[in-house]
Symmetry: C2
Subunit: 170 residues, 2 copies
């Protein structure tokens, strides 16, 4: 028998039919400087920029990224929008125009007070190799594997200070 | 030719080999009452609880959920941990013990000041049907499709007030 669900307080035993086709598609964070963030996520984490949505009325731009080799991504804009909308693991960066020129602009990482959101996480094939790659790119560490009690995880910071967990697959 | 990447400021043209196998695995948010949050995400969004990690030393418990029909999820604990670690679209809920009994405990949604994290998003086959399902479950709306200018999206709130965007696939 295939696994259904773990027990846990409040867990609903069956998947309601009304949720069929629901996809946990993306997570959105605001970024001060899109050039720095796009450089970071497309180089250090190897993500691809799959869609850009410019909104002149609201003076903001949305960038949608995901980790993909790219071969499965349609070239056609409309087909690509569907591809992006149907897959998981999308990161949405929101840029409110002008923040990149404001020396006082900064966003809250959710880990200092007031707490809420904690981090995003990338699983990696080899934690030490991933940490070496972070160092090669001068990425700031919040926690190296050898710090603290949990030696199987590391935390780095993105250009806005958001925490990114690194842990090996499984 | 397959799509490679959109142009954008700072975008790194190629996927560095060092990032091969990186998976944008999960997003972590803190929750005050795990029973309420697990009931919400497993019923209203049809997610499955795939792994629980209890940490008595740190007095916290982590819950990992994802949207799946469940047939592809291994029953064996160790195999299931690998499955969870290798896939995208995982939501991690962190419960710091005792918050559920503290009437003053609350988390910050990232959209009021200080801003940072914005929301998670589920794409759905039919926005109106999804909104009807939210109403049937007495889910609080931040924005109904008919509110404001953007009629193709809605926002609801989870039990901690985190925003969840709803938009149709593609």
């Amino acid at each position: 028998m295939a696994f259904n669900t773990e027990n846990g307080p409040g867990v609903h035993e069956q998947v309601p039919g009304e949720t069929q086709g629901f996809v946990f598609n993306h997570t959105m964070i605001r970024v001060v400087d899109p050039e720095a963030s796009l450089a970071f996520y497309t180089k250090v984490f190897g993500m691809r920029l799959l869609r850009t949505s410019e909104n002149p009325n609201g003076e903001f731009t949305l960038y949608f990224l995901a980790t993909t080799e790219g071969d499965d991504v349609p070239e056609d804009d409309s087909e690509r929008a569907k591809y992006v909308g149907r897959r998981e693991g999308v990161l949405e960066l929101t840029h409110n125009w002008g923040t990149e020129k404001d020396p006082n602009a900064r966003y809250h990482d959710g880990n200092s007070e007031p707490q809420g959101f904690g981090h995003i996480c990338f699983t990696v094939p080899d934690l030490q190799a991933a940490c070496d790659w972070m160092d090669k790119n001068n990425v700031e560490f919040k926690k190296r594997p050898e710090d603290g009690r949990m030696h199987h995880i590391a935390f780095v910071k993105d250009p806005d200070g958001y925490w990114i967990e690194l842990v090996e697959h499984g």
